[in-house]
Structure formats: structure tokens, C-alpha cells
Amino acid sequence: MSHRVVITGLGVCAPNGVGLQDFTHSLQHGISGIRFQPRLKQLQFSCQIAGEPLIKDNVLQQYFTPLQLRGLNASGLVYGVIAGMDAWKDANLPLAPKETPDWDSGIVFGTGILGADKFRESIYAIDQGNTRRLGSTSVMQVMASGISAYLGGMLGAGNQVTTNSSACTTGTEGILMAYERIKSGRATRMLTGSCSDSGPYLWAGFDSMRILPRNYNETPEKASRPMSATAAGFVPGSGAGALVLESLESALNRGATIYAEVLGGAVNSGGQRGSGSMTAPNSEAVVRCIEEAVQASGIHSADIDTVNGHLTATSKDALEISNWSQALKGVGTDFPYINSFKGLFGHCLAAAGSIECVASVLQIEKGQVFGNVNCEDLNPAILTLVDPIKIPRKTILHQPKIMAKASFGFGDVNACVIFSAFND
């Protein structure tokens, strides 16, 4: 038996807002979370700006025990726990009792690399012959699945508890993994999301690849320019997003607030063949992924009225739009509303998919399409395919009925998920 799957909880720890209220306000009003990072200047990065969530110290005690806080040096883990626990609370779900796990609740919470700062700290100790001084927390802060492990213990989850990793596709892929598990009846509720650390050790590789903007160190809020003719590369970011997915029966039985329904989706890879490579997506694969997502959701491509793209703010944005246009068979005013949230918080890497899915679902809740920023000079190649009215530069009132969200990642991997406003 196949189960319908709905979203009953959201949590977020984003550069432009920690918690749903601040995050929503920032998205509605175009408030940026991209700031100058003195540390990156000191380390002679070309790109000295980034999107990093601002966490108040006293907030941590609400999420971590004093013991867990000792030696905690893994920013992604902090973001993931905040977003994950907030989502669970937002769904109004209890923690499992002390002696018995909640067998019906599981976790798919992804990341790219966890606890880079902790790992650095350990490496210094190890190289000085001080391995015995590492203590017990090094392993769980640097293992990728540390985030699902921490959350698993806090919730008492007794179903599948795992961490997925597929570069910038991670968060969107995780939602589909959680969706499949509930749809097939193997779990009733899944907490899904993804997180990514902050800091030079995460971002340096991209700076070295020279794919980050170099000329906006004095004007950080202007740097991330998705769909703009002057897009100059993605701004690195960090944070976490989390969603509670639940079977419709369970949500209705307990009278939960339903944000949206997950209709389906698809994941695939371009195999680094044709136009695809380690770093560039194969367009044929992207188109297929979107088409398969539409098909799997039992809708027609014309039903999609809102799209949240991957759109990282490079010259390749136009190619992504072309792929959407081909897959959805829409041009001009027949193209859905489209936006990229990266203009406001940059590219949060492994956390991008989940933070952007949370933002997408908030659009359904608010009956709005959040405005794009920094694209007053739209890329002309995009304008040949999309009427500018479909690229709102300010937040507009529009109730999304069916929305597509896609993420693409290094390794030529793709994920596309279809959300709909819930109606029974």
C-alpha cells in the first residue's frame, strides 16, 4: 500500500535567519545574510564574504546538555541540531520516552563534511603526539553521520537513522529518501534535512577553484547575483534546514498542521558523460530528472506554477533555465514563477537543498513567491526563454499550487522534488 506524504514541521538555521520567523521575514523583505568575513581576509582568500548563520551563545544551552557543549567544535552539527530539533518541535511531536525508542520515526540528515574545525583540532593534537588527549568527542563530531546520530539520540528515533551525502544535492535527495520510506510504509515519520559547516576549511577549495566572486568584498550583499547578467560566481554559505515528513494518516490522526504535500520526485546522474563532468551538469540528465519527477508525481508539467531553481549565480544559470524550459515545455509567460534564494544567503553547499526546500514550503504557507535580489540586470539569454514578470524582483502574492524544486551537485548528480499545497 502506498501512503501519501505530507510536511508537518519545519526548522531552519540560515545565514539570513535562525528560526522560521526571522528566516521568513528575511525572505519576504529581501534581507541578506551575506557578510564580510575578516577571517577570510586574514587568510588571503580572494572571496572574503560568506553566508553564515548568527547563533547566540545562550541559545546553545536550549539544544545541548553542558556535557555535549564541552569541546563542541563542529558548526554544521550545531546548525543541524538547531534546525532538526526545531522542526520536530514545530511538528508538535514528542521525544521518545527514556526506555523505549520511537520505532516509527526515523532520520535522514545529510552533510558533505562534518566538524572540519574539530578535525583540524584533532589533527594538530595527533601530529604533536597527543592522540591520547583527544577525548571521546572527536569521533562523533567528525563522522559524517554525527548529525543524524546526535539527532537520533535526542529524539529517540527507532526507525532508520542515516546520513546521505551527494554534494549540493544532499538536502533535496534526503527529502526524497525520507518520502520513499514513508510512502512504502516502512516509517510513519521521518526527520530529514542537511547541514554544512562554516569556515575557511570548508570554503577554501572553492576559492582556489576561482569560482567565487572576487569583487564584492566591500559590498557583500550585492555579491550573489542569480540570473543576473553580471553573475560572478556563487557566494559560499553554511547552515541547515530540516523538515518533518509524515504519512497523511498519521498527520490527520493527530491533528497536525500540514504545510504541504510531497507529491514525488526523482534523482539521477549525468554520469559525467556528454556535457556533464565532475563539476558541470549534463543537461540531458537535468531535463530527464525534472521530467521523471513530474511523471512520478502524477501531474502534468503545465501544472507547475512555481519553481525554485538551483541557480547558484554563475553564467551557467541561463543553461539551467533552458533545461527547466525544455523539461516543463514552457516559455515566456507560460514559464512558471521562478526564483533563487541564493541571492540572499549564498550557496549553502550540502545544506542548500534543505534550506531552500524549507523556504519553498514557506512560500506555500504564506501564499507568496519570495522576491529575487541582485538581478535587476537579468541575463539576456534567460529573457529569451522567460518573461521577466515570471522572475519577481519583489515578493509577490501568489498561492503556489504545485511547485518544483531542484538541486544539482558536483559529481553530476541531480534531484528534483515536487511539492503541492495540501488539499484533501
Binding site: R70, S136, T137
Partner: protein, 85 residues
């Protein structure tokens, strides 16, 4: 440092590793770290490191194996301090 002061110092270290449902006043000299105080065995490593820092001593792996109860820990600390002084 008096015996009482050492015991007090050790208690302060152990307190931080107690699970939520174990109260500080449950710590006695006879308490077994894992079986009675419900301390996660992984955290014994951290207790050892904290003891090293607090008393400025170095504990060997064998010391750790013998450190089952609060009393054991006090005895080991006592031996080390005597050696170094």
C-alpha cells in the same frame, strides 16, 4: 591538598558526566562509575583527561582499567601525587 579536597575536586569533575537522572548527591566513595552512576563508558576517557588536568598528573592505560569506582580513582590520584611530590 587534603583527602577531602581531592574527593571534592573529583566529585566536581564527575558531576559533569552524570546523566540527567542521576543526582550529584548519589556520588559516594563506593560509587561505580558505569554500573551505579550510569556514566557512559566513552566518557570515562574524558574523566581521566580532566583528572590529569586538575591534579597535574599523568595516568597510564593500566590506571584507567583499574579505575572502576570513585574510591579507585582517589587511590590512583593519591599514588600519583605521592610519586610526584
Amino acid at each position: 591538598m587534603t583527602e577531602a579536597a581531592r574527593y571534592q575536586k573529583l566529585k566536581e569533575i564527575v558531576t559533569i558526566y552524570l546523566p540527567e537522572d542521576v543526582a550529584v548527591d548519589m556520588i559516594t566513595e563506593e560509587s561505580h562509575f558505569i554500573n551505579e552512576l550510569n556514566i557512559n563508558s566513552a566518557n570515562l576517557v574524558d574523566i581521566v583527561l580532566d583528572v590529569e588536568d586538575a591534579f597535574d598528573i599523568l595516568l597510564e592505560n593500566e590506571d584507567m582499567d583499574q579505575m572502576q569506582t570513585v574510591k579507585d580513582a582517589l587511590a590512583i590520584i593519591d599514588t600519583k601525587l605521592t610519586k610526584t611530590s
